[in-house]
């Protein structure tokens, strides 16, 4: 079975400062990796995903994450945060497709990012 560890439950950061949200996973087989964002009173939205190819993936709003197989990590970074980035961020894994029942997501506990003006 796979598992996801998000090391920080809360991360406060000043506006325009850089931020890194850490995610480590455990799996004996290949996985897909995801970051989801949850704004207050809203459902989860996919922020970015790693399936294969380039280990650095980017989102449309300036976030990026790098897949590191040797360290089993998929940390999320942004060079300059905005107030609107305040939300909870969830790292998730899914087994690479292998038939019915696949693409089930296993989530970490989440990291609350608070951007301070």
């Amino acid at each position: 079975a796979q598992s996801v560890t998000q090391l920080d439950s809360q991360v406060p950061v000043f506006e325009e400062a850089p931020v890194e949200l850490r995610c480590n996973y455990s799996s004996s087989v290949s996985v897909y990796l995801f970051w989801y964002v949850q704004y207050p009173n809203q459902g989860l939205q996919l922020l970015l995903k790693y399936l294969s190819g380039s280990t650095l993936v980017e989102s449309i709003n300036g976030f990026e994450a790098e897949f590191n197989k040797s360290q089993t990590s998929f940390h999320l970074r942004k060079p300059s945060v905005h107030i609107s980035d305040t939300a909870e961020y969830f790292c998730a894994v899914s087994l690479v497709y292998s038939g019915a029942g696949s693409y089930q997501l296993t989530f970490g506990k989440g990291t609350k990012l608070s951007v301070i003006p």
């Binding site: 439950s9 897909y32 459902g43 899914s94 497709y97 693409y103 089930q104 989530f107 506990k109």
Partner: protein
């Protein structure tokens, strides 16, 4: 394109009462998921449907939880009787269910408080 719809958004009940949640997935999405998100934790999969069939319900507490997806579209999740530990946000998600349908689209959730 309309997103995943869920109702009600909030529900408060007393323990031992019953409650039902409703989910309407994105039109044409064959796969539907129900997740339970307890405060301070990530979502946990309860049940997965492919059309109107159950793919995986291994984490569904079947003594009190039930779910159905009649006609392969809408789905309902029921809890009977509810316990205090069932207080959580119940999320519904859907995906196309075809090919590399790894992306799941989530509804806003139903926040259940059991007193």
């Amino acid at each position: 394109e309309a997103g995943v719809a869920q109702s009600p958004r909030y529900k408060i009940i007393e323990k031992r009462q019953s409650v039902a949640f409703w989910c309407n997935p994105i039109s044409g999405h064959a796969t539907l998921y129900w997740y339970q998100q307890i405060l301070g934790q990530g979502p946990k999969l309860l049940i997965q449907f492919q059309n109107n069939g159950v793919v995986d319900d291994s984490q569904l507490p079947k003594d009190r939880f039930s779910a159905e997806r009649l006609k392969g579209v809408d789905s309902t999740l029921k809890i009977q009787p509810a316990k205090l530990e069932d207080s959580a946000v119940y999320l519904c998600a859907s995906s196309t269910g075809q090919g590399r349908s790894y992306e799941q689209y989530f509804g806003p959730g139903t926040r259940l408080t059991v007193t």
